[in-house]
């Protein structure tokens, strides 16, 4: 236990177990966005809070080793581009931007509602990564400011 960064060993152990449950819950909310309350935005915030949980419990250096921050930026930008891409495919297939071009399926099934689950997943990835990255960037900014004073 050389590094004193982050919180106590109790918090770290609890986080190690609970953070995966948080991720699973967020992914569940995203994937069932067209069936139950919630959706891409709420599930994305849950995933961002899961990342934030690890960040607070383990500290900055651990996050740098655990996550590839550049990859997260790419994921965020890619999901935004794919969102617009689905919209443009909608123009090509049916003539309306973001129109629902896939088959509707049966009501209350997991694979139904055409493009809505796809858009939910993209928004979930985007919101989850972006909110975490905002906090991450602001925390870097904070340390710089402290160093100057």
């Amino acid at each position: 236990m050389k590094s004193q960064e982050g919180m106590t060993i109790i918090v770290k152990t609890v986080t190690r177990i609970s953070v995966w449950l948080i991720f699973v819950y967020g992914i569940y909310i995203i994937f069932h966005g067209h069936l139950t309350p919630g959706g891409g935005f709420g599930g994305g915030v849950i995933i961002a809070l899961g990342f934030l949980n690890v960040f607070l419990a383990y500290g900055k250096e651990y996050i740098k080793k655990w996550l590839n921050i550049g990859l997260l930026h790419d994921l965020e930008a890619t999901s935004a581009i794919l969102f617009v891409g689905i919209g443009i495919i909608g123009i090509a297939m049916t003539g309306g931007f973001l129109a629902n071009f896939l088959s509707k399926g049966t009501l209350f099934r997991l694979f139904s509602a055409g493009t809505i689950p796809l858009l939910n997943i993209l928004i979930g990835a985007k919101v989850g990564v972006a909110l975490f990255l905002v906090v991450w960037s602001l925390s870097l900014f904070h340390i710089d400011e402290g160093g100057e004073q």
Partner: protein, 184 residues
Amino acid sequence: MPIETWLIFILGFMIVGSIMALEIKDLLSSIIAIGIVGLALSVAFLFLQAPDLAIVQFLFEIFAIIILILAFLKKEYHKKDDPSNTNKILTLVTVITLGAILFFSIDVFKALPAFGEPYMNTAKYYLENGATETGSANLVSAIILDYRAYDTLGEVTVLFTAILGALTIIRIKKKSSGTEEDVV
């Protein structure tokens, strides 16, 4: 109890919470009191049978409290200066203006529909045709990702711009301070 009684109770709770947030000297207690407002709003959404809104409001309130605690707790914002005369006059002008706006907009509230009875023209269409037209059981998802997907695109753009802005500020800071740490 009828739903209005509960709502009035929750709104009173929120008002008490915001007054506490203003008046408490300790900064951590003040941030927690701000949290009361958002969490009570989330409960109010649940009473109004809007679970989608309640989930997002609840999560964002927690997110906001974490950011507020991270940002403000270590700093010395506790000191309180006496307001100058200019500040007092400006505050008075602001309060009078807002009061006047509220006073003259009372007629607008009379024109609003009664509580629980909105004009159902658009909403009725969504309720009747939403499930068959989009195939989505959750009508809120159907509206934000099918009927109003363009708005959602704008929402995504706002987030994108927020993270871009934060990164830009940090880049400028890094260049000016000359540190070599790698910010992706």
